[in-house]
Amino acid sequence: MKILYFAWLRDKAGMSERQVSPPPGVATVGALIDWLTDQDERQAAVFADRSVVRFAVNQDFAEADTPIGTGDEVAFFPPVTGG
């Protein structure tokens, strides 16, 4: 599973992209965030305030209960400021 970070979430994560292999029980974006938060302190910092974290699964906006699986691309970012 490919994970992407944008804007200040990338700054906090200290990386823009990574490959992860969460256990099979991690089946939604919300569960993935829980799992990442437990991985290390940087990830914990990224997701410290979940109210300001938005996400996309395979380049579509997603919700915490959006299902994810092997091979998916999951992106985390702050609220967008386009235009």
Binding site: Q59, P79, V80, T81
Partner: protein, 148 residues
């Protein structure tokens, strides 16, 4: 049509390309968003999510065509480092009637603000910071909500 690019754009050329040879077009509305400097801004850097950006722009554009009878439309969104006064975004809609053009162009901009995966970092004399999203922008998008 949509484009995501680092370079600037020539609005006159874009309008001509969209409208030439289509005698049904009566009105063309357009909007250009610029990097504003309220004091001390050195530059603004737009980061985006390649792939998702194009998908979202194409979706927003298609949604405008679904809602209004448009003859042509264009969204051009820049990324990268821009200086104060430089254009960031261009939206153009062309229709038989002026109000259709105005409304759909306004709609494109409101949706871009909240649905296009761009993030802005400002570099000022006082340091760098990421621009926060505005609740105003959510409200502007929500006024286009369809009922029923």
């Amino acid at each position: 049509m949509i484009r995501v690019q680092r370079e600037g754009f020539d609005i006159g050329r874009e309008i001509a390309a969209l409208t030439v040879g289509n005698p049904r077009i009566g009105g063309i509305a357009s909007f250009v968003g610029l990097v504003r400097d309220l004091g001390g801004l050195r530059s603004m850097t737009l980061e985006h999510y390649p792939g998702m950006t194009e998908r979202q722009l194409a979706r927003i554009d298609a949604e405008a065509h679904r809602r209004w009878p448009l003859e042509a439309s264009l969204i051009v969104h820049r990324y990268g480092r821009l200086e104060p006064g430089e254009p960031i975004v261009l939206t153009i809609t062309a229709s038989a009637h002026r109000q259709t053009a105005f409304d759909s162009c306004n709609f494109l901009m409101d949706w871009l603000k909240t649905e296009a995966p761009f993030w802005k970092r400002e570099e000022a004399a006082s340091g760098e910071h990421w621009v926060a999203a505005h609740a105003d922008d959510d409200a502007a998008r929500d006024r286009w909500q369809e009922t029923g």
